[in-house]
Amino acid sequence: MIGPGSAATWPRFPEADRPPEERGLARDAVRLLVSTGDGEVDRRFADLPTLLRAGDLLVVNDSATVPASLPARGDAGEFLLNLSTEYGPGLWLAEPRWGVGRPGPLPLRVGDRFRAGSLEARVVGAFPGIPRLRFVRLRGNVRATMARRGRPIRYGHLAEVRPLADYQTIFARSPGSAEMPSAGRPFTPSLLDRLRARGISVASITLHTGVSSLELEPAATAAVPIYPEPFEVPVATVEAIAAARCRGGRIFAVGTTVVRALESTVGPGGLRPGRGFTRLYLHPGRSVRAFDGLLTGLHDARSTHLALMAAVVGADRLESAYRGAAARGYLWHEFGDSHLILPEATALPSAAS
């Protein structure tokens, strides 16, 4: 059974420690695990046009990754300030860490002052229930400081410094994600051309991801709050979804961020445009209303992601799919392989390659 509380029993999966480009592959050459009502088949991401139908709509996240990790210095010494979410002018939620592989906690108290890049910073308070996240007030131009001194946020499993471009998807328009919305990473211009040629269209939402700091996620976290993230579901996307449904097309969310944005503004009257912050927590027992299928990465034992996936796929189906994928050498994490979950009723596609 997959869900909150079972993450401790979730096996460890092989991780991609480098982008596919450095493994000699194109972005869209990563493997694609395809879950149908009948079980799983193995494909490549580039096979996507043959796995979808004319009229289908892909909804992607157009948030761009920012270099959110700033060098910081204060009474405690040198540390990293990973900026998670901008709440308002100068007010950020952030995770102070000793280093890439050393999370802390740091001895920072409310009212303490320090420097982050060239900015004066001040600790405002802790995030309720997640004390490793602090609200900080930054004086000065945060975006410019990020551009000059910031690095993409990374953790222990990716020790190497990589250029920001490695953390951008082809859809990146609106800067603001602390970490890459990775489900869209394998898309390439030529793949988009082939999707369009098949009559498959693309619409976008925006959801700026906060920090994930994997190694600090507690194993059993039913009671752990999800922190809110900024999102926008634009009018044009609501219209594109309505048009797709009208022509009998199916809606595919590309990534858990898209799921959260869409489910945040869907109500009894259907999907509506919206903008704000969401901390929607999708879990088994909560219905999924805004989309039919999901295209996403392979998720590790962070229970909020697992719970979301279990809500979409069903816990048993997800567990058997993941165990099979692990046995067949699929790679986990943001530079790893992908997973297409077709609606239950979809027949196994005929051989695509």
């Binding site: 009212g111 308070g125 945040s264």
Partner: protein, 247 residues
Amino acid sequence: MTARRRADAPRVALITGASRGLGSTIARFLAGQGYSVIANARTAGPLRREAAQLLAVGGRPIEVAGDVARADVRRRLRLAAERLGRLDLLVNNASELGPSPLPPLARFPLRALERIYRTNVVAPVALVQELRPLLARSRGRIVNISSDAAVGGYPGWGGYGASKAALDLVSRTLAHELAEDGISVVSVDPGDMRTAMHQAAYPGESIADRPLPEVTVPFWAWLLGQDPRRVSGHRFRAQAETWEVPA
């Protein structure tokens, strides 16, 4: 020179009912950002202890003890803000719950009902009257603390709930009336919290399953980050799954 100092001076927030519970949470969050907090509460002892906490997180607290239902207390609050030279935020948080346990309306003591309205409806309006010129100068914000009881119709909560429903309408009306002064007005339902007031509503019962008022801190961070004109006239739920900016 004087004008420049004033523009550079720390922002000022006035919070009623600041010595405990939600008021204390908001006061500490603002003090941590460097606001000068004018903290009001009925009794001086707890207010002094709270002011010490605000000082410890780097704020510059000013204590004004007394019941906001009294005109002389409201005047002292205005004088405190005038001495600081500005007022950016007024949080009408002080609230009167009524008798504990909560009586049904058919048996509600009428003097207690009047007292609830004086504190929860008349005092916030009176404070706005008192502070409007200062708020206008800073193009400030007013936050009125409401309750889910304002819309719930919960048995026993009729006195308190009706007063908060009235305060919600006060907020919406003020949002229109004060727009020309550049003042923004919102109403916030903080949700159930583990506070002394909530305990008084459920005497003898455990309220340990309710979150502490700190649970609302991210909401205040979000609300104060929004363009005040965009949110004015709207009602928010601090513990909701999403906080949306009105279209």
